[in-house]
């Protein structure tokens, strides 16, 4: 409102009564009492990434609980960092599966080429993004751990309630029923 008045009586009157300064002050005042947009990340809230997000890899499994992977080694071939190791073997049913499937996350650049190359829809990059570690050896993740990793999210792009725990390592676990809120809800867009 002040801005409109300032534009109307611009010139000498506005200049003499500092209307442009008052305009700025009214803007900061309105911001002072508006909702904050800070995401209180480790303490109270956590960001659920979009489905397109490329986080920690995971291996999809079929109805019997076995991995989809047929150990064709295409992902290992296309990987620009050579961080995927696959050793195939034939199980009792005569199906080809990986005996060893290791990803060195310390070398991975999360380009997602393995996901594109996979013919069996087995490997993909999921939602998990908190896996830093003090030891680079623990960043080499094996087959079973990859199968246990959380997959992609349905909707994503939300902030959910979370809790920080420092008892065993540092973990931020989402709490509540998983209903998130849009992070952009309080951001003004003109």
């Amino acid at each position: 409102m002040v801005a409109k008045v300032a534009r109307k009586v611009s010139g000498w009157i506005g200049w003499a009564f500092f209307l442009d300064l008052l305009d700025g002050l009214s803007l900061t005042l309105s911001y002072m009492f508006s909702k904050t947009i800070t995401e209180r990340y480790p303490d109270d809230e956590k960001w659920i990434p979009f489905p397109r997000y490329r986080g920690h890899h995971f291996l999809k499994s079929n109805a019997e609980g076995k991995t989809n992977c047929v150990a064709c080694e295409l992902c290992s071939r296309i990987c620009p960092c050579r961080c995927i190791t696959v050793v195939p073997h034939e199980d009792e049913d005569g199906e080809r599966h990986p005996q060893v499937f290791e990803i060195d996350l310390g070398r991975c650049l999360f380009c997602g080429l393995c996901e594109d190359a996979c013919p069996a829809d087995a490997i993909a990059l999921g939602r998990h993004y908190e896996f830093c570690d003090h030891d680079s050896k623990t960043l080499v993740v094996g087959r079973d751990a990859l199968m246990a990793m959380p997959g992609k999210v349905e909707r994503g792009g939300e902030v959910v309630a979370a809790r920080l725990s420092t008892e065993v390592g540092v973990t931020v676990t989402a709490t509540g029923d998983g209903e998130g809120v849009d992070w952009w809800r309080h951001i003004r867009r003109r």
């Binding site: 002050l25 508006s34 904050t36 947009i37 800070t38 209180r40």
Partner: protein, 328 residues
């Protein structure tokens, strides 16, 4: 016996005032950071204590345990003296600042001020002027380019703005026929001085901003172009002396604005205890100072000088002239 009691009362009041003034910067830094945060749609400190309430304490411990560094090229005597010179005047000023008339506790009447001088206002302006020496010494003794530039700017700025500041209160003194702050407040019992002296208030407020070296007049410590200005070379507890002094000057200027222009402890409409009224107005003006800080950018140096000499000085002179004509 009577005189012992009186002396004891004065010492007690002195101790309370000093304790409050030493502790006051702690909540003020927290409030300032919260206001800064909320203006920028952030939350400000949140992690130490409830809503970051203990953050100033953590910062205080950090400052106390930091290395107290004195550069080899520095003038050691002046370097150690400067923070003290900067810190003492804000404390001295509060001797003359009343926060209320008097209260009766357990049958004895206790005055809510340390000294009622008949030249109270003159004393305040004079003592507040000494604080500049701390800043100038700090810059000079540091023997560093940034610090010297900062303190030179302070020197020029303080001298320019002390004049309109002094002139702008003359109108108030003319209305009250006294320089005692108690008389000035009593004279505003009917109508506040800001109604009679809007121009005087404006000049005093702007000059006060410059005196407190707050944005938009914080050229002495412009982070962008001067590192930190006069306290570039200071660290640890000596740096915190400058910080405390800065915050106390904000409080003192707000108190002076309330006393001179906004009726001191006289309230309007809502009947509240006079001290509560005074503290409410005081905190309002402290908040305004912080609000201004996070709204405006810094003035350029030549703009600062031309505002001081070409705008504020003529305005304050005109204010004296107009008040004089109306007094006749």
């Amino acid at each position: 016996m009577e005189s012992f009691f009186a002396i004891g009362l004065i010492i007690g009041k002195l101790a309370v005032v000093i304790a409050i003034l030493l502790v006051l910067p702690i909540p003020l830094t927290w409030i300032e950071r919260k206001i800064a945060g909320h203006i920028q749609q952030r939350l400000g400190p949140m992690r130490v204590g409830w809503h970051g309430l203990l953050q100033p304490l953590a910062d205080g411990i950090k400052l106390l345990t930091k290395e107290d560094h004195i550069p080899t090229e520095a003038d050691r005597f002046l370097f150690t003296l400067a923070p003290i010179i900067a810190l003492v005047p804000p404390f001295l000023v509060f001797v003359a600042i009343p926060i209320g008339d008097s209260v009766t506790i357990f049958g004895t009447e206790i005055t809510l001020y340390l000294a009622d001088m008949n030249v109270g206002l003159l004393y305040i302006l004079a003592v507040a002027g000494i604080e500049v020496y701390g800043v100038i010494f700090a810059g000079w003794a540091s023997n560093s380019k940034y610090a010297v530039l900062g303190s030179l700017r302070t020197c020029a700025q303080m001298i320019s703005y002390e004049i309109p500041m002094g002139f702008s209160v003359i109108g108030v003194v003319m209305l009250a026929h006294s320089m005692s702050l108690l008389d000035i407040v009593e004279a505003q019992a009917g109508l506040w001085n800001v109604v009679y002296q809007p121009l005087g208030f404006f000049v005093f407020f702007v000059a006060g901003l410059a005196e407190a070296q707050r944005i938009p007049f914080d050229l002495p410590e412009a982070e962008g172009d001067l590192c930190a200005g006069y306290h570039t070379e200071y660290s640890g507890i000596r740096f915190s002396f400058f910080m405390i002094s800065e915050y106390l000057i904000v409080v003192f200027l707000s108190a002076l604005i309330v006393l001179l222009f906004f009726g001191g402890w006289h309230g309007i409409l809502i009947p509240l205890p006079p001290v509560v009224w005074f503290l409410l107005k005081l905190s309002f003006f402290i908040w305004v100072f912080m609000w201004l800080r996070f709204t405006f950018p810094r003035y350029r140096y030549d703009q600062l000088m031309s505002i001081g000499w070409k705008v504020l000085l003529p305005l304050s002179l005109a204010n004296i002239l107009i008040s004089g004509i109306f007094m006749l």
